[in-house]
């Protein structure tokens, strides 16, 4: 039986209630809109890249606790990273949330609180929406989708 407390951990509930970097950036170097047609979750991600470094990142939108917390944690995690590092972190995060729950995964620090979604397959898309949007923003696509 899947344990709910693995999904709704304190850290996630806190980031849902008080999302970090929940704002816009005026004329950012990169921007993308993420949309999950399944549940209607929508988020706008603003990224400021200077040189090859993400100097600022922010988001706005409406979504469930998992997608909002994931976006919040992601913005904290990638701020200060190079674009290459952020892309690599996308791959590592994606691997963690899509690995079956009975298999070990690497420790991603704070981001690891989202590993609980593995027990709730329909919620994996919620956790990855922000990351797909980041990837799209960095590739300068206008719209990301979890489909």
């Amino acid at each position: 039986m899947s344990d709910l407390s693995d999904l709704y951990q304190e850290v996630i509930l806190d980031h849902n209630k008080r999302p970090r970097n929940f704002r816009t950036i005026a004329s950012p170097s990169h921007h993308a809109e993420g949309y999950n047609p399944l549940c209607g979750d929508r988020l706008n991600l603003y990224v400021q890249v200077d040189g090859n470094v993400i100097t600022d990142v922010a988001f706005q939108g409406s979504g469930c606790a998992i997608s909002k917390a994931s976006a919040s944690l992601m913005t904290d995690a990638v701020k200060g990273q190079t674009v290459t590092e952020a892309r690599a972190l996308f791959e590592r995060f994606h691997h963690v949330v899509t690995t079956p729950p009975d298999q070990p995964v690497e420790d991603l620090g704070k981001l690891s609180v989202l590993a609980g979604v593995r027990e709730f397959p329909v919620r994996v898309k919620c956790a990855s929406l922000a990351w797909h949007t980041l990837k799209a923003a960095l590739e300068r696509e206008q719209r990301a989708s979890t489909e």
Partner: protein, 419 residues
């Protein structure tokens, strides 16, 4: 005031034995996440009684063959089951003749058939198709497609804050340009029962043809297509305790006969040469290819099942459970109900303050309670209320007040997590 009488009392008063009905549906004994299943997602798809499961099993064990074409006994049995289901469907909705019953893949298929066959052949640039704001995407997109193809345009009748179609606005939208009115009998997102009789009468007065999307009405209301005087009535088997992949399009015979085929293939033809093909008569003209025979056999059993129960008593029972659910959910602090039409059936759509429906859905599921969360394929309805999603508890004849109590306790748990 909280209605607190247990279901047994209510059931005795209205003469409906819900426990007996529950025993007909084997899946209702299922446990999910270690808890008894509380299935409140019947507007999405209903559960199936043993009789339906048996009919499909029997078909494959004793009658599996293709219909309408072979001379052997199994084919005769299969054809009898298939045509028998058509005749049952005709009786079920009081259609004048089984010929007016086209067996489809479902409601969506039926609407697309009418849009592409009837709509595409009659619509001209400047003509209008009238829908309501309540429609399911499947009663919007097929009309958008045919409007793009023909140069006709869509008119959308607004709804009020209670989720009721504005009948005055509807009347003022009808004109000599209105060719087709396509409207849901019951809203899947809010449960509103539309005054379809009145809607049809007004459309006919303007010379328009009316399609009623009955997907959400058919499991709850007794439907009489002749009394309604609709031109087309479409519904799905899977919403009325039958299998998925089967549906019905009732059409006025004169219209069906004048309509061009929708898809070409076997069974829909009378003769084929490379020079010319003659089409089969209705309804076969619209049934190309080998259909879902086992599904149709199951659908026939579902019709028998519904005709074998007291529908008025079943509806009174459902109304009682819906009223109880509405009262109980309204009592929850921070709960907001969407869709408070005077005439409603089967659906309670709501939100809890500070909780995204998707999170509520996961926690409810963990408590054994199956609901749908999201936009319910009715994005315009969500937009109308300025929201992106709701929690939707939807009912069928087998639900009880006790299950609503489980839902309410589970919603308390949801509030606890997000307090």
């Amino acid at each position: 005031m909280t209605p607190s009488a247990p279901s047994a009392t209510t059931d005795a008063r209205i003469g409906f034995d819900v426990q007996k009905v529950r025993r007909d549906f084997p899946i209702l004994a299922e446990r999910v996440h270690g808890k008894p299943l509380v299935y409140l997602d019947s507007a999405n798809t209903s559960q199936k009684p043993q009789a339906v499961l048996d009919a499909m099993d029997e078909y494959y064990r004793h009658a599996n063959a293709n219909i309408h074409r072979a001379t052997h006994l199994l084919s005769e049995r299969a054809t009898a089951l298939y045509e028998g289901a058509r005749a049952k469907a005709a009786t079920f909705i009081n259609a004048p003749d089984p010929k007016t019953i086209v067996l489809t893949k479902g409601t969506t298929d039926g609407i697309n058939l009418v849009a592409q066959s009837y709509g595409r052949s009659v619509l001209k640039p400047g003509d209008e198709v009238v829908l309501s704001w309540l429609e399911h995407h499947s009663n919007i997109v097929p009309w958008q497609l045919v409007c793009e193809q023909t140069g006709a345009r869509l008119r959308v009748v607004p709804i009020n804050d209670a989720g009721e179609v504005d009948i005055d606005q509807y009347a003022s939208m009808l004109s000599a340009r209105t060719r087709i009115v396509a409207i849901g009998h019951v809203s899947n997102a809010l449960g509103t029962i539309n005054p379809v009789r009145e809607i049809i009468e007004q459309a006919h007065a303007r010379g328009a043809v009316v399609l009623i999307d009955g997907a959400q009405a058919i499991p709850h209301l007794a439907v009489d297509v002749q009394a309604l005087d609709c031109d087309f009535y479409v519904f799905s088997s899977h919403k009325m305790f039958g299998p998925t992949g089967v549906g019905v399009l009732y059409g006025r015979q004169s219209l069906l006969e004048a309509m061009p085929p929708y898809q070409g293939g076997g069974d829909m033809i009378a003769s084929v040469t490379f020079e010319k093909t003659c089409y089969n008569v209705v309804p076969y003209k619209f049934e190309a290819g080998t259909p879902n025979i086992a599904g149709v056999a199951g659908f026939g059993a579902a019709v028998d099942y519904l005709m074998g129960i007291d529908r008025a008593a079943a509806l009174a029972h459902e109304d009682d459970v819906l009223a109880y659910a509405t009262t109980r959910v309204r009592e929850i602090p921070g709960a907001r109900i969407f869709g408070e039409a005077k005439h409603k059936t089967g659906v309670l759509s709501f939100l809890l303050e500070g909780v995204h429906p998707h999170d509520a859905g996961t926690i409810l599921d963990n408590e054994g309670v199956a609901v749908r969360t999201g936009q319910h394929c009715a994005q315009p309805v969500m937009d109308r209320f300025g929201i992106t999603a709701t929690i939707r508890a939807s009912l069928a004849i087998y639900n009880t007040r006790e299950e609503i109590d489980v839902l309410v306790r589970a919603l308390e748990r949801v509030r606890g997590v997000f307090a």
